[in-house]
């Protein structure tokens, strides 16, 4: 397993990006339909600065859809999502929500980092090229500055020697670490992880979780959809259990693993632990 350098990961981007509000993410009464199928049936969730929330639940419970709604990769039909003080995807006109302009949505997304299950690195760009693309193109960071930050980030996720490699030349674990660095380079107020380790071979899961644990320890605000209960036990401030489009239970890891209240939580945990 690759050793992660002891230095602080977030130093590379100038420390923990601070949110402008106490609650970085505020989701109220979120409903989402796919056609006639109601996938999210009223989800509410507050995530405070520096908090790490792990979302778990059986397949089809709506957890991936939920996290994709937070940065508006999915349209929502009801409810409101506020990240860092900005209403996401919609604006209010006469008390009604109307779809926002793409330009505004893009601006709001700059504050939300996203890590995908399948990495989605840009295959025509090197590891470093993947990281500096958005800071230069979206934030307008000067190229030399972006490269310096990109190199630091790569070093901190243990891939300093891979900056000229293309994604296809990297292992799954390495690709996912580049993807995390790519998201961090935008200095997001919150990081969303959508099952970041479930497309990885078992021996590569550890190296990705190490980076995520380091981020959590350094105070990054994170929402993580994952079945990695070891990770949840170690770094989560709160675990949220979803089933059939609803949050059925939430609490500290201690509560969750020692004293779950719901039958469905118990049966889920018994299957997964």
């Amino acid at each position: 397993m690759t050793q992660i350098e002891e230095t602080n990961l977030l130093d590379a981007i100038g420390g923990v990006p601070l949110a402008s509000t106490a609650n970085v993410v505020e989701v109220t009464d979120l409903h989402k339909w796919f056609g006639r199928n109601e996938v999210l049936k009223g989800i509410s969730m507050m995530v405070k600065q520096r908090e790490v929330v792990v979302v778990c639940g059986p397949s089809g419970s709506g957890k991936t859809t939920f996290i994709r709604c937070v940065n508006h990769l999915e349209k929502i039909q009801q409810g409101r999502i506020v990240v860092n003080g900005h209403l996401i995807g919609y604006r209010e006109e006469n008390g009604k929500l109307v779809a926002d302009k793409e330009r505004n949505i893009a601006r709001q997304r700059q504050e939300i980092g996203m890590v995908f299950q399948r990495f989605n690195l840009f295959p025509h760009k090197t590891a470093l090229g993947n990281i500096i693309e958005a800071p230069i193109q979206v934030r307008g960071v000067p190229e030399d500055e972006a490269i310096e930050m990109g190199r630091k980030l790569l070093a901190r996720v243990g891939l300093a020697h891979k900056e000229e490699d293309y994604p296809a030349q990297l292992s799954g674990g390495q690709q996912q670490r580049v993807a995390i660095a790519r998201a961090l380079a935008m200095r997001p107020a919150v990081m969303l992880f959508d099952e970041p380790t479930s497309a990885l071979d078992p021996e590569m899961i550890g190296e990705v979780l190490e980076v995520m644990k380091e981020l959590a320890r350094e105070g990054m605000t994170m929402i993580v959809v994952s079945h990695e209960m070891g990770f949840a036990r170690e770094v989560a401030d709160r675990i949220v259990m979803m089933d059939e489009g609803l949050i059925i239970e939430e609490g500290t890891p201690e509560h969750f693993f020692t004293n779950p209240q719901q039958e469905r939580t118990k049966s889920f945990l018994s299957k997964i632990l």
């Binding site: 397949s59 991936t64 989605n120 840009f122 193109q137 935008m186 099952e195």
Partner: protein, 303 residues
């Protein structure tokens, strides 16, 4: 995908094979001329048309190449816009792009050519005056030809570009937008550069076609490569030798283009694994490098 599957990378004939074919052709021709029939193959006319082309032939060659490049460039630009138009969220734009492709793929090119040149001219909509840029004068007929060829080509390129864009994993667009790019920027910076690698092989085939299709401009009186030989055979009444020479010229053009195309494809394949000689074919590499090596079974979960 059918557009992509249909096209194959150009394979240049091996020198030995090419020489063999030419020798065989020579034997056949010699046989023909040696027979009791009254026809006599004029070797000098045939050979000189190729080895010592006169100014008319040279001018025709240049015109064919220039018109092909110009029309293809127009076609690529129109094709990109039409492809984006076909995928637009805005209904009128989608409708407009669909109608454009429908009309230009659904009518014969020769009809489009005569319509734009003679039709518009006689109707006094546009008279296609000659344009003079410095020492260069471009005839109206050539302008009309380039215009019509480009419009026609754009309709075909639209489908090729669209197929190229659709071949890119939607996750690429999502990742770009999650980083705060607008849809336009994500398309330009992330999706189109990747689609280009998929589009290049069929684009090469389109240009090969374009080189030959320019011969249709003879209906507008443009003296391009084919028309040069057509005029010559009308004067000398040696269609056999002259059209054979004409064919050799076109074959030469498309063969040279074939070499250029495979050079471009090799260059584009750089930076992808297996780019070294002996790996899978260029196209196989270009189509496979995007797919992360993931077991399909683990991708399914999540929602």
């Amino acid at each position: 995908m059918t557009e992509l599957q249909r096209t194959r990378p150009f394979r240049a004939p091996r020198p030995a094979r090419a020489v063999g074919v030419l020798l065989l052709l020579g034997v056949v021709l010699a046989g023909c001329s040696g027979q009791k029939s009254s026809f006599h193959f004029e070797w000098d006319l045939f050979i000189n048309s190729i080895l010592q082309p006169d100014d008319q032939i040279k001018a025709g060659l240049v015109l064919t190449v220039v018109v092909s490049i110009a029309a293809q460039l127009i076609g690529v630009v129109l094709g990109i816009f039409a492809a984006l138009g076909k995928m637009s969220k805005v209904r009128p734009i989608r409708w407009f792009a669909n109608v454009y492709v429908w009309i230009f793929r659904g009518t014969p090119l020769i009809v489009q050519l005569v319509f734009f040149y003679y039709g518009l001219g006689v109707a006094k909509i546009y008279l296609w005056p000659d344009i003079t840029i410095g020492p260069l004068t471009i005839e109206g007929a050539i302008q009309a030809g380039i215009f019509a060829l480009g419009l026609n080509e754009g309709a075909y390129m639209a489908e090729i570009v669209r197929a190229g864009i659709l071949a890119i994993d939607p996750g690429q667009m999502e990742a770009a937008r999650a980083l705060g790019m607008t849809p336009g920027k994500a398309m330009r910076r992330i999706v189109l550069p990747q689609a280009a690698r998929v589009i290049i092989p069929p684009l090469g085939n389109e240009f090969n076609n374009m080189l030959k299709t320019t011969s249709l401009l003879f209906v507008l009186g443009v003296v391009e490569l084919y028309n040069v030989f057509n005029i010559k055979q009308g004067q000398s009444f040696r269609p056999f030798e002259l059209f054979l020479a004409c064919a050799v010229w076109f074959l030469l053009l498309t063969t040279i283009w074939g070499f250029i195309q495979s050079w471009i494809e090799r260059r584009l394949a750089r930076g992808t694994p297996g780019a070294a000689a002996g790996g899978p074919g260029v196209r196989a590499r270009m189509l496979s490098f995007r797919r992360p090596p993931i077991d399909a079974s683990v991708v399914s979960g999540g929602r």
